[in-house]
Symmetry: C2
Subunit: 240 residues, 2 copies
Amino acid sequence: MTSTIGLGLAVSTVIFALRPDATGAPSVWLPLVRRTREPFLDRWALPGGMVRVDESLEGAARRNLGETTRLEPTYLEQLYAFGDVDRSPDQRMVSIVYWALVRPDEAERVSLGENVRWFAADELPDLAFDHNLIVDYALWRLRTKMEYSRIAHAFLGPRFTLAELREVYEAVLRKPLDPANFRRQMETSGVIEPTGEVVTGGRHRPPRLYRYTGAVDLVDAGPLSRRAAGAARPDTRIPA
Amino acid sequence: MTSTIGLGLAVSTVIFALRPDATGAPSVWLPLVRRTREPFLDRWALPGGMVRVDESLEGAARRNLGETTRLEPTYLEQLYAFGDVDRSPDQRMVSIVYWALVRPDEAERVSLGENVRWFAADELPDLAFDHNLIVDYALWRLRTKMEYSRIAHAFLGPRFTLAELREVYEAVLRKPLDPANFRRQMETSGVIEPTGEVVTGGRHRPPRLYRYTGAVDLVDAGPLSRRAAGAARPDTRIPA
């Protein structure tokens, strides 16, 4: 009962960004990495790799992201540990999965190449390991979380129009929202407030710019983030 | 980068139940197990142990719970993976933490003894490993989750009075709630509905009994629970 099992420990990261689909409407995309070795040689997979003995789980996720995509995400959060007995053909392998929600300017910085490419989250090929299941789970969490948290913020800059915010909700929830209802709900929620600025460009009725209110952290990990603040770990919070 | 690290993989479970405090008011308690070996000999710790090579993570959590407390919880959910480099003095050790929320009748069945005892969550001694941090994190998640989900249900039977439901919220949130406001909020939320029954016992105005509405799973793990339903895993959902 007390013996240590022969086990591989990996991290993988689901990176979600909004990008235009074939019709030009924003939808959820993620970058994948083509595997260059067995198992699952040549299949697409989530960016990730093995955890080194001297690095934290989040540290391993950040290092692997940097090595494969050069991305240093602002929003990075632990999502779930996948550890089914048969998820890898070679050995027992547990993967701690993180997710990163990135703004368009961050997404632009993903280093693409023959072995790194963006895919629409709804149209994935057969991925390596159980990575299709992991993406399905991450999409479900994203849609669930949109309903009660400030998570849409992760996809936007510090200032945004109501139309831009609605586009984020529509892209994630995969359904059109009534603009007037959306405006009313957001304006009465207390979650966003007008900045007093408008979009420049000489239109007759330029759209107002909004920002999120308050100082609530976008990534609020409770006691974990409070501890991390004293531990010189990379800051995973969006500045208020 | 591809080598496997020497690593211990463990599971631990935070079991929360409501039990009376010194004043008789319900508060959050958890059972702990006294360690009978190094490291942290004689310290109290969360029930748990090593993952065997042929068992799933949740299977390992259930087996260890059975061996230490004889508990077979209805509500068992993965909470977070703790993997800091220095969390165990002997070797690199990652612990996948589950939590179980149990009803009073389940809590009664916890097998107590010299090495298993209930503790009030707010008054813990120094625990083994980083288990104080884990409990703090679980309490934070519990309090956060109460605000938007049906999680209070896990502590109650299928039928309950409004006063019993309010007691759960008060015990978890650690603050008194106004009975009239609470009644109004719950009755307009659509989350609970009267069963048509009242508490028997001959009182002049016997309290009405309520139940949760709808068929939403208490433990909704999205794509993971759908898959589990076909995989002959123990059912982790409360019957509707």
